[in-house]
């Protein structure tokens, strides 16, 4: 059986001022067709004003099994947060 069309991941900006957000995937022969299909599948009720598509195989992802070690460096750096610094109550607006 002939291989099905390639898989694309779809990202949609719902309105200006917001990020593009991953909404799912679909199959298409090329990026242009992916954009047209994404319009019909993911924006039937005006959910978007801009679409990004990328072939799924081109995405590189971090490995979830390493995530404990991978994100550990941020764990003990409380001094990166504003509440780490103690100020008297009289100091306003800070």
């Amino acid at each position: 059986m002939k291989k099905y069309l390639p898989l694309y991941e779809i990202f949609i900006r719902s309105k200006n001022g917001l990020h593009h957000k991953h909404v799912g995937s679909l199959h298409a022969s090329d990026p242009q067709m992916a954009i047209m299909n994404a319009r019909d599948v993911y924006t039937r009720r005006q959910e978007g004003i801009s679409i990004w598509v990328i072939e799924s195989k081109d995405i590189t992802a971090s490995n979830p099994t390493d995530s404990d070690a991978f994100y550990a460096p941020a764990e003990d750096k409380v001094y990166r947060h504003p509440t780490f610094y103690k100020l008297p109550d009289e100091v306003k607006y800070m």
Binding site: M1, Y4, H27, S29, D30
Partner: protein, 327 residues
């Protein structure tokens, strides 16, 4: 085959961590470790759900060209288009589990994968379209709302989109029936006839009774399912009976009765023989539905091939721009 004590221990601790995550009501994402049986259960359930959306377009598509007004036709077309969209959201979720679209479609066409049995019943009159929206989509909503909190992230997110869109489906169905019930005696009789035929199959949509549902317990432990088949069926009956009264048509169940003690409607026994017959492929339309799907897929093959050939040619052109030859 991993079979030394150390690997077995590792597997066990992964499984334990997985279950703890579930018990904390956290979500599982595609690349997270999961037991094979969890993956298999999800592939089966999500693909079955996707196939149901796709096959579900057929009984309703049957009435698009015969809708009684432009308004009804537009509504029905939008609904059928939504079902296609829902099928695609769900295939996309299933594919995150590592199964390919080819395989999924193949499983539907060869009968290896199931879809909701309700779509193996014929749509004989226009009132059937109203009844499907009211009862079939109503039952689907009842099943799908708890799935928005399913432990598998991509499935839950797909369900959120589906549920948002589904409520229009149910309302358009109910409005069709309301118009018929407020119309001529013939129209009202048509609505009653449709309810007579669709009531029991709609109750069957919740699946076998809890005592005969082998997967329920495990699915609930994995937070895939949040309520049992019988719980959801009871809620559906409780919600729907007053709506039938509002329409002025009668639910075809002589044993249906409000139970003051439980505040639920008691209802008669479902014909489980009929249920299993249709599941096994002997319903009125099983063969037609699959034949229509296979035909649509095969008739569309040239479009997929042509679009791939075009994409490949465009790619080649980018690599080797055409030299313009002069005589």
């Amino acid at each position: 085959m991993p079979f030394n004590a150390e690997q077995l221990n590792m597997e066990l601790s992964l499984e334990q961590k997985f279950q703890e995550k579930i018990d904390r009501d956290e979500r599982i994402e595609p690349r997270d470790w999961m037991p094979d049986s969890y993956r298999k259960t999800l592939v089966r359930q999500i693909s079955q759900h996707a196939h149901s959306e796709i096959v579900g377009m057929l009984p309703e598509g049957n009435w698009i060209s015969r809708a009684p007004s432009l308004k009804r036709k537009l509504g029905l077309m939008a609904k059928v288009q939504d079902e296609a969209g829902h099928g695609l959201y769900l295939y996309s979720a299933a594919e995150t589990l590592g199964i390919e679209r080819d395989t999924l479609i193949d499983q539907l066409h060869t009968g290896k994968a199931k879809y909701s049995s309700i779509f193996n019943y014929p749509t004989l009159t226009w009132a059937d379209i109203g009844t499907i929206g009211w009862l079939v989509d109503g039952a689907a909503i009842m099943n799908q709302v708890p799935l928005c909190r399913c432990s598998y992230g991509p499935y839950a997110r797909a369900m959120v989109r589906v549920c948002k869109e589904e409520s229009f489906h149910q309302r358009q169905g109910f409005e069709i029936l309301l118009s018929l019930c407020q119309g001529s005696p013939e129209q009202k009789a048509m609505a009653q006839d449709a309810l007579n035929r669709w009531w029991w199959p709609s109750l069957m949509m919740f699946g076998p009774s809890d005592v005969d549902s082998p997967h329920t317990q495990q699915s609930m432990a994995w937070n895939i399912k949040r309520f049992s088949n019988d719980e959801l069926r009871q809620r559906f009956v409780d919600m729907t009976v007053p709506q039938a009264e509002l329409l002025g048509i009668t639910v075809p169940d002589p044993e249906l009765k409000f139970n003051e003690a439980t505040s639920n409607y008691d209802f008669g026994e479902i014909d489980w023989d009929e249920f299993w017959q249709v599941v096994k492929g002997h319903g009125p339309c099983n063969k037609d539905r699959i034949a229509a799907r296979v035909k649509a897929h095969e008739d569309g093959a040239w479009v997929r091939e042509a679009s791939m050939a075009y994409a490949e040619k465009q790619e080649q052109r980018k690599l080797n721009p055409i030299e313009v030859k002069t005589a």
